[in-house]
């Protein structure tokens, strides 16, 4: 928000391309700014001086070989890394101009604004209704039963699940199929009306049809939310992402408009990876 076109000093991150290729100005509102982010698991460094700007109401895809730090980076954005005792973080992660790692930043408040969808669908072992209604009720977004019902319906509709579950809202969320469970998790995440939704390989456990449903969903959701997704599927990145960042060994090798990146990658490594020649 503080800068329409992000300032990215060349010497700081030479590999990061400037995503100014889109002319739609609204898409360039800055959501998350990351500067010189280093992360260690004990003594092993997993993230190496990352610099990246993530934009509002866009889908940003993080791609890269296994173990390159995509999930680790994603967890930096809602401080889920706090749960891992060995983690040490240096550098700046700024959301809407506020340092998320600052001592006075409440991680609970942060996670209220930065929702997360995990790689493996993990609905609560409660009813479908409770899965969606629990968090908004906890955050005092809704309280009365009618409000809850309205919100649950809206979230499930947005997640494209409503028609399948509207008659069995009180059955356990765990009784749904994998793809439905993942959409339930998305509904759960959007029900608290966050600003950002992090998705860690949301379709990796799903069949092509469920995958397509979720891809369509992302396309729709980006009207309201900033979506940052990890994927191993190049076609998926090309289909759904406005921007793509290529991670390699804890570094961001290249970050650019998806169309540009997939047609004319600036780096050799990116090209190799995208075309499937990597490793």
């Amino acid at each position: 928000m503080n800068s329409q076109v992000p300032e990215m000093s060349e010497q700081q991150s030479p590999a990061v391309g400037q995503p100014y290729t889109r002319n739609d100005q609204a898409c360039h509102d800055l959501s998350i700014r990351v500067r010189d982010l280093n992360l260690w698991y004990g003594k092993a460094q997993a993230l190496n001086g990352l610099n990246i700007d993530l934009f509002q109401k866009n889908v940003t895809a993080l791609i890269g070989p296994s173990g390159c730090g995509k999930s680790t980076f994603l967890r930096c954005l809602n401080r889920m890394n706090d749960l891992i005792p060995t983690v040490r973080i240096e550098g700046l992660v700024e959301m809407d101009g506020r340092d998320v790692n600052a001592p006075k930043m409440d991680e609970v408040a942060l996670r209220r604004r930065v929702g997360m969808v995990f790689q493996k669908p993990n609905p609560f072992p409660k009813s479908i209704f409770e899965n969606v209604a629990y968090a908004p009720r906890m955050h005092d977004i809704v309280s009365r039963k009618a409000e809850q019902e309205e919100l649950v319906e809206k979230a499930l509709r947005d997640a494209g699940l409503w028609n399948e579950v509207k008659d069995k809202l009180h059955e356990p969320g765990t009784s749904l199929s994998g793809g439905q469970q993942q959409r339930l998790c998305i509904a759960r995440a959007i029900a608290v009306q966050p600003d950002v939704i992090l998705m860690d390989e949301p379709t990796s456990a799903l069949d092509p049809i469920s995958t397509a449903t979720i891809e369509d969903l992302m396309d729709k959701l980006k009207e309201k939310f900033t979506i940052i997704t990890v994927t191993h599927n190049m076609q998926q990145a090309a289909r759904v992402a406005d921007y793509t960042a290529f991670f390699h060994l804890g570094e961001i090798i290249e970050y650019n408009d998806t169309k540009v990146m997939f047609s004319t990658p600036a780096q050799k490594k990116t090209e190799d990876y995208i075309s499937g020649r990597y490793g």
């Binding site: 995990f118 072992p125 995440a189």
Partner: protein, 388 residues
Amino acid sequence: MSDSYDQISQQLKGRHRKSTRLKYISMSALALAAAFLLIFFADMLSKGLPAFQQAMINIEINYTEDASTNGRAAVDRDFSTLISRSVVRVIPLQMRNDPSLLGTTQNRWVLADGSVDQYLKGNRVRLDDEEMARIDRLVEEGKVEMQFNSGFFSRGDSKMPELAGILSAVVGTVMTMIVTLAIAFPIGVMTAVYLEEFAPDNRLTQLVEININNLAAIPSILFGLLGLAIFINFFGVPRSSPLVGGMTLALMTLPVIIISTRTALRSVPESIRHAAFGVGCSRWQVVKDHVLPLAMPGIMTGSIIGLAQAMGETAPLIIVGMVAFIPDVTASFTEAATVMPAQVFTWAGEPDRAFVEKTAGGIIVLLAVLISLNAAAVLLRKKFERRW
């Protein structure tokens, strides 16, 4: 190369023999254990089941003027040695409470003396020939018969075997267990929750962990000594009371509950915690709303098993004075009481032969309660077991 298959078979024969042998050894071990169990149960039942039967005599009670001061006068002299002393003892009191009884005569089934009871159950007793003959005659007339011994479940201990019942011990056990559970369950669960969900993994918590595990292996009598030294001598909790007994057993049950709670918490998948943190739960909300409900069946099972263990415990209770002669049902947590295993222990020490069956009967009741508790634990686990 052509004979390699035969060579392998040759070699295998020896191995198969070995595993067959091992199988039979294991099976015979199992059979032996089962046989012991069977013998134990058969012996227990054959000795204990008679305790649930009691000889009763139908006699004529004359509420005369004399009887109002001396109950003995109300019954025929021939019968007075055959009926329980407790019957004649209460007659004056009955008459005082109900003056209209005076001058009436009633036929009533009353408790037979312990020796009659034992004679009818085929045990050797100190009765003279004349008395035995009289009993036989009464049996023929249908004036003496064995009835279900409801008094065993509705009365407290007594020095008269025909009167001795297990109720005061059952009540004592219930009260003691209430105290134990009220102390051990919340403390145990909260400790486990802290260690598992909140505490940093450092030297100190590791030390605490090791000590809790060791605590579970300490001989129970030491907990009795601890209870005596701390609760009775230092804090002045009344001796022999369900309160001190329950507190002592709580010390013993605590590690069991902590360990089983931790296991239950650990079996809750990490992904559920991540999901909860991901929607912005605080640590306590994660525990309260997601982890604890899932772990509850495991926690309950562990607690019930810990409680069952405590219920069968005698040694620490002897130290805190809960092996006492308690004829009346305890009404307060600070009065002297006894518990089922202690009652069994007391009866086992009685010289009167009639108490042998009481001992076995008490054990049967105790075992029945323990088995139902364990069954409840299994059912609970089955009922709430879920996949996620």
